[in-house]
């Protein structure tokens, strides 16, 4: 019995329930449904945390080394990011989109073939640990759980992805909301959302988190590559796609800050950016050849 897969099963159900609750809250506008949804999102977050912890125990290293583990990290970071957003801005209706996305991610993780899921020891290229951290952990006998540039790289990259995913959800809502505002309907299905202007601003804030984290991910990946392959940049497809994605969001920021592109046009760039993220994450691994392929 693999404990991480047990927690996965629980989480799968939790995300389904959470997504349904948020959708229920959106449609029926009952406060208690919303509160239950938030509680369930917390439960799902805890359960996802347990997946990651259990997996670290099983594989004997930080749980960021195959496609399935990275999906769990993505789900975890997006959930955490969403809950922070909900806490700070007190909007719940957005949860229907974000948690829907989370559930889709869980389904995709579930459908992965076993070889992308199993807990494996690290191959030589993935063994990068910070010596200082090993020294700190050694007295407790935990030095094998020390992390290094590679783990830092994956972790920061996925916080970046989570920011972009949230911005993507918000941009979709923006486009729907904008249409309903333009047609003058106040209530209705879109009535549960805050004003379009606020959604637009939140979408930008999510990118303002995603962008620097993706940059940190790219740089820490370069530091690791400099240890492992002997050069910090080699234009491998994954590296190049991360740069492409980063440039798209840089274009978003410049269009917004300096040319005043807001609302619809900003939302379209954000959607395009997230399509690039999906390709960067999944497409590159399966379609294009290279060093990074989680799929190999």
């Amino acid at each position: 019995m693999i404990l991480s897969l047990v927690f996965f099963t629980f989480s799968f159900v939790f995300y389904l329930v959470t997504a349904l609750l948020y959708i229920g809250h959106w449609v029926f506008k009952k406060k208690w449904i919303g509160q239950t949804a938030t509680t369930m999102a917390f439960v799902a977050l805890l359960s996802t945390t347990m997946i990651l912890i259990a997996r670290a125990g099983e594989s004997g290293h930080a749980p960021f080394s195959n496609l399935w583990e990275s999906m769990m990290l993505f789900v975890w970071a997006t959930n955490a990011g969403y809950l922070i957003l909900e806490y700070r801005h007190k909007f719940r209706a957005i949860g229907a989109f974000v948690m829907g996305l989370e559930f889709i991610a869980m389904i995709s993780a579930f459908m992965l073939p076993y070889r992308f899921k199993s807990a494996e020891p690290l191959n030589p290229a993935l063994q990068n640990k910070w010596h200082w951290l090993m020294d700190v952990l050694r007295p407790f006998g935990l030095e094998k759980y020390a992390i290094g540039w590679l783990d830092f790289h994956v972790f920061t990259t996925f916080i970046g992805y989570a920011g972009f995913a949230i911005s993507f959800g918000l941009s979709l809502i923006y486009l729907l909301k904008e249409r309903s505002e333009a047609s003058g309907t106040k209530g209705g299905i879109m009535g549960a959302f805050p004003e379009a202007r606020i959604i637009d601003e939140l979408s930008y804030r999510a990118i303002a988190w995603g962008f620097p984290f993706l940059a940190t991910g790219i740089v820490s990946g370069a530091v690791w590559a400099n240890y492992a392959w002997g050069s910090y940049w080699s234009w491998d497809p994954k590296e190049t796609w991360s740069l492409i994605t980063w440039f798209i969001y840089a274009a978003y920021l410049h269009a917004r800050v300096t040319r005043g592109w807001r609302g619809k046009r900003a939302a379209y760039i954000s959607v395009a950016g997230f399509l690039a993220v999906i390709f960067l994450y999944w497409g590159v691994s399966f379609v294009l050849p290279g060093l990074h392929a989680y799929a190999s």
């Binding site: 020891p121 191959n123 030589p124 804030r205 940190t216 240890y227 050069s231 440039f247 410049h254």
Partner: protein, 470 residues
């Protein structure tokens, strides 16, 4: 929109149409999107393959297009580098054009004209009355802003006060830090491509390797592989010794992810294998011609004359080819690959002191050529012990540290650009009948939601009774 070129006075000589071309933010968007789009080609067309593979994959017409457009080595092509150079020029010109006025405005911000009528024009403004004297209300305003970590200055006295509060000015420099960091990173890459090099050496255990453009050598003391209990490979290791002026100055174990760094040069564990042109010893057996079985094989060490027991001959092992091939043009034997596909050893056979034969013997084809012409005995090659080599990549890149420095500056820039917002608030406190009227309004350079909330809290704390208390 864009900064207009302010005319008036003579323009510096460099402010010509080229300058304005590079000052454009439309150009920035264009270059960023173009870089993103063309980079996609580079990930779809696999880079730096031999020409035949492109021919096979894309056919003749497309291959010639790929080669002409240099899509096979796109990221080093002149047009790609030109795009990067455009981005760099764009950044340099934009920074030159925008930074000095911005810097001046940030320094002189307090002397900006105070126009009370403008306050109500801000999207974020509040007008409200407080039942207290102007003096007391002014105190409350100052305290409310200070509590939110604003700086604030006051002018006026008696019945009317003008105040100006600000916070987070330095956030405005975030984009400049970011842009300069990009230039630093590009600079680091340029330094690396001119002053650095990459190289590779395969070294046998016990052997030494030279290092290009350096006054030291490396010796490989040992190479070994660690395994997990499950049998999967855990790590490749090499033990290296640095030799300088004939002395051993440093010993270090390297593995994948743990290079040796010495005098600005890095040495990486990058591959390993068994030698294709050397063995440490070979097993040679004597066989009487016509018989099917041979005697007990003997161990023959590399380049060490060894008498063959039971015969008058002695042999010396002088060559090895893992995948035997013969070049008729040059009469040379070579190994077609590094794999032991067709292993063969080269021997010198002596009768006393006299060299009588130099045959190649094949592991898989014993006896196809007689080892000693005209003799009763033949020799067969029955086995060998290979030599491990370790593949060491050598990399000198003095630009790397510049790239890291640029990355750190970029991090600072991001913190300033995305998490430090510049707020400015103008406040008028004026007697109005029995109470005091407060008008305040202002702006933030981004994240208006935070600002709305902050201003509301400030207004509440000014109007509430307990506010302003000391």
């Amino acid at each position: 929109m864009q900064d207009k070129a302010k005319n008036g006075g003579s323009k510096p000589f460099y402010k010509n149409s080229i300058w304005y071309f590079f000052n454009s933010l439309k150009l920035t968007l264009f270059v960023l999107i173009t870089l993103a789009v063309v980079s996609i080609f580079g990930t779809v067309v696999e880079q730096n393959l031999p020409v035949e593979e492109y021919l096979q994959k894309y056919g003749e017409k497309w291959t010639s297009f790929i080669l002409t457009a240099r899509l096979h080595d796109m990221y080093h092509s002149y047009w790609f580098l030109a795009l990067l150079a455009m981005l760099a020029l764009n950044i340099i010109v934009c920074t030159f054009e925008r930074f000095p006025p911005k810097w001046k405005a940030l320094l002189n911000h307090k002397s900006e004209k105070f126009d009370a009528r403008l306050i109500e024009k801000f999207a974020n403004h509040h007008v409200f009355d407080v039942a207290a004297s102007p003096e007391a209300v002014k105190e409350r305003v100052v305290n409310a802003f200070k509590r939110k970590k604003f700086d604030i200055i006051t002018s006026g006295s008696g019945k009317e006060f003008h105040l100006y509060a600000w916070k987070g000015r330095i956030g405005r420099l975030g984009s400049d830090f970011t842009h300069i960091s990009l230039l630093l990173i590009l600079l680091g890459a340029i330094i690396g491509s001119f002053a650095g090099y990459k190289d590779f050496r395969a070294v046998f255990v016990g052997g030494e390797m030279s290092v290009p453009k350096a006054d030291f050598r490396l010796k490989l003391d040992n190479f070994w592989i660690d395994y997990y209990e499950s049998g999967q490979i855990k790590q490749y290791n090499s033990l290296l010794t640095v030799i300088e002026d004939g002395k051993e100055v440093l010993k270090k174990q390297i593995w994948v992810n743990e290079p040796l760094y010495y005098k600005g040069i890095r040495f990486y564990q990058s591959s390993y294998g068994t030698a294709w042109n050397r063995v440490s010893e070979a097993e040679i057996a004597v066989q009487t011609k016509g018989r099917s079985e041979h005697n007990e094989p003997m161990l023959v060490k590399w380049e060490t004359p060894t008498p063959l027991s039971g015969t008058k001959y002695s042999v010396k092992l002088i060559g090895y080819a893992a995948d035997f091939a013969y070049d008729e043009g040059t009469n040379q034997v070579f190994s077609k690959s590094a794999e032991a596909v067709n292993p063969a050893v080269h021997l010198e056979i002596y009768d006393g002191d006299k060299l009588i034969s130099t045959p190649w013997l094949f592991l898989k084809y014993p006896g196809i050529f007689p080892a000693i012409p005209g003799a009763d005995e033949d020799l067969v090659f029955t086995g060998y012990r290979g030599i491990m080599y370790s593949g060491i990549s050598i990399n000198k890149d003095p630009g790397t540290n510049v790239v890291w420095a640029g990355s750190i500056v970029m991090g600072l820039g991001f913190i300033l650009a995305f998490f430090v917002y510049h707020r400015r608030v103008w406040i008028v406190v004026r007697e109005s009948g029995k109470s005091t009227e407060v008008k305040l309004g202002g702006m933030i350079n981004k994240n208006n939601l935070v600002f709305e909330k902050e201003l509301k809290e400030i207004v509440e704390s000014i109007s509430s009774e307990k506010a302003g208390g000391k």
